[in-house]
């Protein structure tokens, strides 16, 4: 068994092609991209260039025209239906521009919901969710998300993305709705949390200020021509 098979990258993309129904050109055309375990990468690109679409492809929410996406060594599109959904719930955490917290659920329950679909032992859900929130500085775990500040809501969203111990966190314009100061705090939080949990982070953004936060950066359009990756960490 090779070293890579024993310890696969968080993300591997090979020959990925995607185009919208009726379109003549691919909006996503990535020959190769690898993200090592725990690695963090910023992917930039203008509006409408397919940044969110790429994340949806990686999460298995849409089907590529061709190519392969592997998360933690598992080819995402080779599994189907509920199996893929469960795999996504367990191996991929997602953070959005708007935090998408579930209304009517407390902060703790918002995090626990992620565990509901993950296959993680049910008896551990509450403690695990509470610990993750506490680690991220949320003490009022029973508060309604509406009672929390925007920054605290962001922490809850990050806790939810990380609670299942995913191989990969996908962040879709995570600071677009925040002012620069809050954005910096949120990014610090997310990047540190991913490091502590050993999760790789792929962040897409059109915010130029984000560039300095990532050692590894890529522009979506440029990925089409070249294979990018740091190989196995």
């Amino acid at each position: 068994m090779t070293k890579q098979a024993e310890n696969p990258p968080a993300l591997e993309i090979e020959g990925l092609r995607f185009r919208y129904a009726g379109a003549n050109d691919d909006v996503i055309a990535i020959d190769g991209l690898t993200l090592a375990k725990g690695e963090q990468m910023l992917l930039t690109g203008g509006s409408g260039r397919g940044k969110s679409t790429l994340l949806h492809l990686i999460a298995g929410l849409i089907e590529p025209r061709e190519g392969t996406v592997r998360v933690g060594g598992q080819a995402m599109h080779a599994i189907h239906g509920a199996k893929r959904d469960r795999f996504r719930g367990r191996q991929i955490g997602m953070v959005f521009q708007t935090h998408h917290l579930l209304p009517g659920f407390s902060a703790l329950e918002n995090v626990m919901v992620a565990l509901t679909f993950s296959g993680v032992s049910r008896s551990t859900h509450r403690d695990l969710a509470r610990k993750t929130l506490n680690d991220l500085g949320i003490d009022r775990v029973d508060a309604d998300p509406g009672e929390l500040s925007v920054g605290q809501q962001q922490r809850v969203a990050v806790a939810r993305a990380l609670v299942c111990g995913p191989a990969l966190v996908l962040a879709d314009e995570p600071t677009a709705s925040l002012d620069p100061e809050a954005a910096a705090v949120a990014m610090d939080l997310m990047q540190n949390a991913c490091r502590e949990h050993g999760a790789a982070l792929l962040c897409v953004s059109h915010d130029p200020a984000m560039a300095s936060r990532f050692e590894r950066r890529g522009e979506l359009g440029a990925l089409s021509a070249t294979t990018v990756g740091g190989g196995v960490a």
Binding site: H56, G81, P103, M112, T116
Partner: protein, 426 residues
Amino acid sequence: MAIGDATIVQRSMSARMFSTVTTVALVAVSVGLMLLLLSMKDSGRKSFERGIGNMHMLISRDSSPLVSVLNGVFYANPPANPITWQEFEGLRGSLRFPLVMIPTQQGDSYRGRPVMATVPEFFTDFEPVQGEPFEFASGEAFDAPFEVVVGSEAARAAVLSVGDTINLRHGGPRDPDAHVHDEYDYTVVGILEPTGSPHDRALFTDLTSSWTLHAHDRRLQEIGPDAVTTPDDLVDADKLITGIYGRAIGRPGSSGPPAYLPQVLVQLRRNPSFVVAEPSGEINRLFEIVGNIDKILIAMAGAVMASSAIAIMLAMYNSMEQRRRQIALLRVLGASRARIFRLVIVESALIGLIGAVLGTLVATVGGVVVAGVLEARLGLVVTPSFGWQLAGAVVGATVGLAVVAGLVPAIAGYKTSVVRNLRPLG
């Protein structure tokens, strides 16, 4: 503890509290109406069957057998055309078969409750419910004039007990010309146990005192306001009855009517001045008439049920528009399409279940209210009740209907596009 489907469904319902409550209320009203109609239908028939008891025939001079039964047994109105005591004795003497004949007379009332004058055998030979004779909660049957026995419901409503003195009203409960006879005090000598029949709301006294009451009115006109009337002043014209409860005596131990009953009826019907009703047959005929109304009411209740199912579907479907983002998020978190479908179906079923259970309570409370109104307005003693089998069947059907109603929104949830609904707000 983990978050399960039940919590997700419960939170979803709480988040749309107004919609959930109004939909549940609509289902509850529909189920309550359906159960109430079904229980009233059954209890109405039972109530009528209980009233006729072990009577085989009712002889009167009413306009038809059905009217005779409604007046003579269910106290709908005092019968208008009397039978003289001489005619009664002539009839009794002419029959060649063993027959219990209990003369009755109606026309008086007490505080809106009918008074039936009869003979003491009414309490021993007539059973208001087949196999269940009258029983006294206190006291005993009258055995002298101006004594009165009170039905359980009448005693409760008028707060009467043994030893009380009352004055009867000459005239039926709805007779505008009725007047109270203060000059004749009646003593309550017995209170009956409830029978679940119309007799519970009646008072019973002996024929002689009733005749004396009526004779006094005659004598007031003949003699003047100083007239004093006693049973000794009665003349044949005063001795009138309005009905005869008849029972053909069968062999000891036999529960059904004796084989000679048809011959008795034929003999009685030879005299066209009498109306000879077979109460059980008349009740069946009555329910054949009102049976169609029952069907219409049940069809209406069914339509209300169907509309409540549509309401569930619309409420759930409309909520889908608000919940697409939530569904998309659950999908991202690992919920499968099938799980989303199941969550919506469970929510719909839960709305149906809560509505159905509340509807059962509505029917129970509503039954008491409707029974009270029916008794107060129509004098019909109805005890609406439904067994757990009927309630269970209606609840089950409601949940089934709710599941069907949930299919369309569940399919909408199943098809919800994750990508489209995770776009940033605004």
